[in-house]
């Protein structure tokens, strides 16, 4: 493991939770939610947790609880069926499936709420005071935060097996990277996420880059959009 250049922890609300990550993986891999291949999904889930750890994203403990649940289900599915035939055997995945379905239902419900005519967003009464005054911390990203992770993963995969010669370690800071990105983006107006990295890069470059992008999103200095599912992620300056 690379030693950490500084003690940073990233706390991001955009990674909503373990169920959200699981649903994302199921959708992305076009799996049947009623028949989840536990082995496969566990592996994927752990890969993504690992990546989030590389990024020092502060993971809620719940992510680990679900990881443990997945491993438990995996183990239970390996146990041969009970010898007593009368005993009804419950699919060990059932509880998790139900939770995912329930969660998905409310995610959809949230989408429907969001489609309603919202006061001070879609419709305004007379008088211009605002009722929902608390500073909004929402991140304006149309592309899913997990999609960013997918992009990050593909870059990591690309970096695998590449010969890296260690000479001098030039540590660029996240702040520096932010400046680089802003400079490029202000000239080009929009850039594809994948092209942010230089020709030759180290793992540290990748980590610094994605942290810079996430920070810029949080500060709303850039916006992030994906034209089609799993397509390129475009970064651009909001109007």
């Amino acid at each position: 493991m690379i030693s950490e250049p500084q003690d940073y922890r990233v706390k991001l609300e955009i990674f909503e939770g373990p169920l959200d990550l699981l649903l994302f993986l199921i959708k992305r891999n076009e799996l049947d939610i009623y028949d989840i291949p536990v082995s496969f999904i566990t592996e994927q889930y752990l890969t993504y947790l690992g990546m989030m750890q590389v990024l020092n994203v502060e993971l809620a403990s719940e992510f680990l609880v679900i990881a443990a649940t997945l491993l438990e289900i995996k183990a239970r599915m390996l146990i041969p069926a009970s010898a007593e035939p009368e005993e009804e055997i419950e699919d060990p995945r059932l509880e998790l499936t139900n939770r995912l379905l329930e969660y998905q239902r409310f995610k959809n419900a949230a989408g429907q709420l969001n489609n309603l005519n919202m006061l001070y967003r879609d419709t305004f009464p007379k008088g211009m005071q605002e009722s929902i005054e608390a500073e909004d911390t929402s991140l304006n990203i149309e592309a899913d935060a997990y999609e960013l992770l997918v992009a990050f993963k593909s870059i990591l995969d690309r970096a695998k097996g590449e010969k890296i010669a260690y000479m001098t370690v030039e540590r660029i800071s996240v702040a520096q990277r932010i400046n680089d990105i802003m400079e490029r983006i202000s000239i080009a107006k929009s850039i594809v996420f994948d092209t942010l990295l230089p020709e030759e890069y180290t793992k540290m470059d990748i980590v610094i880059t994605i942290l810079a992008v996430l920070e810029l999103l949080r500060l709303r200095m850039i916006r992030c959009e994906q034209k089609e599912p799993f397509g390129n992620i475009w970064l651009y300056v909001p109007e």
Binding site: E13, R105, L113, R121, T123
Partner: protein, 200 residues
């Protein structure tokens, strides 16, 4: 009195109020007038229809059990250009939590956490601060946990007439009821509100 004039009175009442105006207040004010065959709800509908045309940028809407004039959604972009309002938005976790509260109220924090699979303390506080949800009581469970529900402001913000106007309310409630039943059987044991004991 002519119908036109009655409608005009109602129009002024709604225009002059700060908050969505309840029908009962309109009825109170106008109780001195003999309406004959006409009713306030009927007159409201006529007034509403009058604003429906393309020529008007505002509309009369029924929200939070009252009536209010609001701009039509298709002109929102223009109002934003005025730059005097900060458009309000809710984060995805806040929207999700709000949906859970709205569709499953009354609901405890533990139940919200379970559905979301993640701690919801921070988001619940945000929603309380924005007055979109409130504490509506305590549940008859060990520890007497607080239960949350949506507020009048919630209805106003989401342009809902009342809580039954939530989209697909029945579908979502029905689908959840089976699981709720399960939870109830698990949790509503007559345990003393002390330390949890092992199952026998």
């Amino acid at each position: 009195m002519e119908t036109e004039k009655l409608i005009a009175i109602i129009e002024t009442l709604i225009f002059a109020s700060e908050k969505p105006l309840k029908v009962k207040y309109i009825e109170q004010v106008m109780s001195v007038i003999d309406l004959g065959e006409l009713t306030i709800p009927g007159l409201l509908e006529t007034l509403k229809a009058g604003y429906a045309s393309e020529e008007s940028g505002i509309e009369l809407v029924e929200v939070a059990e009252g009536w209010q004039f609001r701009t039509k959604p298709q002109f929102a972009e223009w109002i934003k250009r005025l730059n005097t309002v900060r458009p309000s938005k809710l984060s995805a976790p806040a929207m999700e939590t709000l949906a859970i509260v709205a569709y499953r109220q009354p609901i405890t924090r533990a139940e919200i956490d379970y559905v979301r699979g993640v701690d919801s303390g921070g988001v619940i506080k945000t929603l309380l601060d924005k007055r979109l949800i409130k504490i509506i009581g305590k549940k008859e469970l060990p520890g007497r946990p607080l239960v949350y529900g949506t507020t009048q402001e919630f209805l106003e913000v989401f342009s809902l007439k009342d809580i039954s106007a939530l989209p697909n309310l029945q579908d979502i409630k029905q689908m959840s009821s089976a699981e709720e039943e399960l939870e109830r059987n698990q949790t509503e044991l007559p345990l003393p509100a002390s330390e949890p004991t092992d199952e026998e």
